[in-house]
Amino acid sequence: MTSLVDQLIVLVMLINFAALGSGRLTVAIRATALQGVILGILPVLIHSFSWHLVVITGGLILAKGIIIPWLLAGAIAKARISREMEPYLGYVPTLLMGAILTGLSFVFAQRLPLAPEHQGLLFVPAAIATLLSGFLLLVARRKAISQVIGYLMLENGIFLFGLLLTEAMPVMVEAGVLLDLIVGIFVMGIIINQISREFSSIDTSRLTTLRD
């Protein structure tokens, strides 16, 4: 079981690189969606069965695998956005940075003691690596929509870690977190729409009128 879990986690990390290296928005969206689905599957593998778990699995897959990609795709279609990522930082340097950050997250994870039942699992480094990859996307991509993708990836990293604590988190809180996430993405989608209407572009490098 443990090896399957670790394989899935490694897959999550590989998806990070896919998103970092791809030049297409749709690829990145699908990558994060796939991550979301994996996040939904993982708790079933590490915890024993409970209805709580079912709700979480269902919720995660529904939110991250279906609703959010759909919202984003809708936003792209509505705002008639070209499908390029338009990086500030080229793809190869981004990938290199991603690799370095993943390495660093392993170093950092070394410092943190694990609970006995999680010994040997890659959750912590993978979570941090995903978080950092999300950051990288946020920092290195020009388009508003790609920044949303980065934010999603960052969230995925956090959820990945959260899976270790599924039992500690009450359903209500979990649901609230997910709901907030969805509403957040929804609002972001609306804003992107408005941006594209106002600036006839969603290139965030144009959003620099407010400064000192």
């Binding site: 950051f135 920092v139 920044q147 959003l207 009128t209």
Partner: protein
């Protein structure tokens, strides 16, 4: 002098009632219709009445040497708020009430509501609040309470000062003032926090702290900064010239006469807590005093704005006061009680004297502005003919501020001088050379003050009018003249009858240092106060005798009238007279290294040159030549740093990331 709780029949209740009456004096005026001066007149009456109560209360406290304390059940998180009065506080209350009453009455003539319907009610209100807070500050016995009154004073002074805010100059002055006063308040935060380390913000008893401990040094430094900013000690005086010049004259008089003395009060009060002081405190104060005295008057000589010039003289006189304090501290450190008595006595008496003659001068300057419409000295002249009262009163003030006998300025300067000379005679350590330097320095200050006031008086009141406004000037009404007459009389009274001074001064000195009464030195013995009366009379008799005889001779022989000797020049005009700038030119050149005068020479070209102009002025050195460039340089640096807020979102997110990374790196 046991502290006793306050009762309703105490003199302090008179003081509080008076202060409250003054504070509320401006309120009715806010609600009365504009264009009536009832509110203003009632307010002046209330201030005068309140002041009378206050003066009675303060004198009673001084003469009875009472120390009273009580507590206000405060609910701020600093515990109960102690208040109280002792002779030292009462002494500082005297100038507050005297000057406030005079200025309030003067204000009805100077800033009449009929002519200033928009600003007069506001000004009257804030003037009352200002005067009231000035009266409450010496009553605080708790740092928090002190700070509250302190800031009410600062803010109401700001609003009074900014009355005429349509003038750019006034706005600039208000800005500088408000920044300086807030900086001072923050320094006091530090000072009072250090004093309150024990957990209580109540004033410690006099002589209970040790000044030689490091914490004492920190307190002294913070107090010097905070109170020095308010008092206007060089080089912390930056706000003072502009503020005093720009405020309505009666507000200037109150600010210069009383407000800046609260800084002195604070310093004196804090120094009273220390039983043992290191000698270098006194040296620091003495040096600061010398610097303020000499530089203050030197800059004054270079001014040709009447009120700005007077403002620089405030710095000079604060310097004299601080010199006196320095002598007192040196005396305390060296165990020479006569130095303490003379130095502190001179300083405190000069506080009172300066309040009297400086407010007299500012009110006189106000009368000049009122009568001739300008405060540019070089546009005035010959005012004495049409404004004889103002001229005579201004002359009295001028002679008093120069420390000339037989007026009050001489008495207090004499005490300070005697402090110096006693130190020179008795001193053993490093203080003697410093005092040996201080005495000539003060003498030089006196000489320069004479130069400056001859210049002012001569250019403004003597000679011929240099402009049409000056020619058409008029004497102010009695509402403005009366207060000035009172102040001038008080100046002469103290100058001629200083024998009464120890009765009100000694209790204050003994409250400052409780050990002092046992030192066996009395003010009346240490200073020749009775001789001053005698010498004043001799001088007056000599003047009268010589004058009478000479005048008899003059009137006995034929008298003729002619033009002034003009060396044969055919067409002299009034504009050819020596101006204030030309009078000061020689001096300003001598001190050019410090004063840095700016000369804008005319460009004369060709055979028939066009009309051209010559102008020169002495800038406010610290503000214009140090602070402003410093601020500009800081602004430039800051605008580089402001590039960090560039509007690029992805880099903002990078900031978050970097912060996170750095904190994690620090944590692990």
């Amino acid at each position: 002098m046991e502290a006793s709780p306050a009762g309703p029949d105490d003199p302090v209740s008179l003081i509080i009632a008076g202060a409250l009456l003054i504070g509320a004096s401006g309120i009715p005026g806010l609600f009365l219709p504009a264009r009536t001066d009832w509110g203003q007149k009632c307010a002046a009456l209330a201030v005068a009445l309140g002041s009378l109560l206050g003066i009675i209360g303060a004198l009673a406290t001084l003469i009875a040497e009472r120390t009273i304390s009580w507590t206000i059940a405060g609910s701020l998180p600093f515990g109960p708020l102690e208040a109280g009065i002792d002779p030292l506080s009462a002494f500082f209350l005297l100038p507050v009430f005297i000057v406030a009453a005079c200025c309030a009455v003067y204000g009805t003539g100077y800033w009449p509501a009929v002519h200033h319907p928009r600003t007069a009610p506001r000004l009257t209100f804030f003037f009352g609040v200002l005067a009231s807070s000035l009266a409450f500050i010496p009553l605080a016995r708790n740092w928090v309470l002190f700070l509250i009154f302190w800031e009410i004073m600062a803010l109401s002074a700001f609003f009074s000062l900014a009355t005429d805010d349509l003038e750019r100059e006034v706005r600039d002055a208000s800005l500088v003032y408000v920044v300086a006063t807030h900086a001072g308040t923050l320094a006091l935060f530090a000072c009072f926090s250090l004093l309150g380390r024990g957990g209580s913000f109540a004033f410690p008893a006099a002589g209970t702290m040790d000044g030689t401990a490091p914490i004492g040094t920190a307190i002294f430094a913070a107090a010097l900064l905070g109170f020095g900013l308010k008092a206007g000690v060089m080089p912390l005086h930056v706000w003072l010239p502009g503020a005093h010049a720009s405020a309505p004259s009666h507000v200037s008089a109150l600010m210069s006469g009383v407000l800046i003395k609260t800084g002195i009060y604070g310093l004196v009060r804090i120094l009273s807590f220390f039983g043992a002081v290191p000698p270098w405190w006194g040296m620091v104060l003495l040096t600061a005093g010398i610097a303020s005295g000499i530089l203050g008057v030197a800059f004054a000589v270079g001014q040709h704005d009447l009120k700005r010039l007077l403002a620089y003289h405030s710095i000079e006189n604060i310097g004299i006061i601080v010199m006196g304090l320095g002598v007192a501290l040196l005396g305390k450190a060296a165990g020479l009680p006569s130095l303490v008595i003379l130095g502190l006595g001179g300083a405190l008496l000069h506080v009172l004297n300066h309040a009297l003659f400086k407010s007299l001068l500012f009110l006189g300057a106000g009368a000049v502005i009122h009568g001739a419409g300008t405060r540019e000295i070089d546009r005035l002249g010959g005012l004495g003919r049409r404004m004889p009262w103002t001229a005579a009163l201004f002359l009295t003030g001028a002679a008093a501020i120069c420390g000339l006998p037989p007026l009050n300025g001489f008495v207090s300067e004499l005490l300070v001088y005697l402090g110096f000379f006693s130190g020179i005679v008795q001193g053993k350590g490093a203080e003697a050379p410093l005092l040996g330097l201080a005495a000539p320095a003060l003498a030089m200050v006196g000489g320069m003050a004479v130069l400056c006031f001859v210049k002012v008086f001569g250019t403004v009141f003597l000679g011929l009018p240099r402009s049409a406004e000056a020619a058409a000037c008029h004497e102010p009404g009695w509402a403005m003249r009366g207060p000035m007459v009172l102040l001038a009389l008080l100046c002469a009274l103290i100058g001629l009858l200083p024998v009464a001074i120890p009765h009100i001064l000694e209790p204050a000195l003994f409250a400052w240092d409780p050990q002092l009464p046992f030192a066996g030195v009395r003010l009346a013995e240490a200073a020749p106060l009775d001789w001053i009366t005698l010498m004043g009379l001799v001088l007056l008799l000599a003047i009268l005798g010589i004058g009478a005889w000479l005048w008899k001779r003059v009137t006995a022989e034929p008298q003729g009238t002619a033009g002034t000797w003009d060396c044969g020049f055919a067409l002299p005009t009034a504009r050819m007279q020596y101006t204030a700038s030309s009078f000061a030119e020689m001096f300003v050149k001598l001190f050019a290294a410090v004063l840095r005068p700016r000369v804008h020479p005319p460009r004369v070209q060709g055979l028939f040159p066009e009309k051209s102009a010559f102008a020169s002025h002495v800038p406010e050195a610290v503000l214009e030549l140090v602070m402003a460039p410093l601020l500009a340089a800081t602004d430039r640096r800051f605008s580089l740093a402001r590039k960090l807020q560039h509007g690029r979102l992805h880099l903002y997110i990078l900031y978050i990331f970097v912060t996170l990374a750095l904190l994690l790196a620090w944590a692990y």
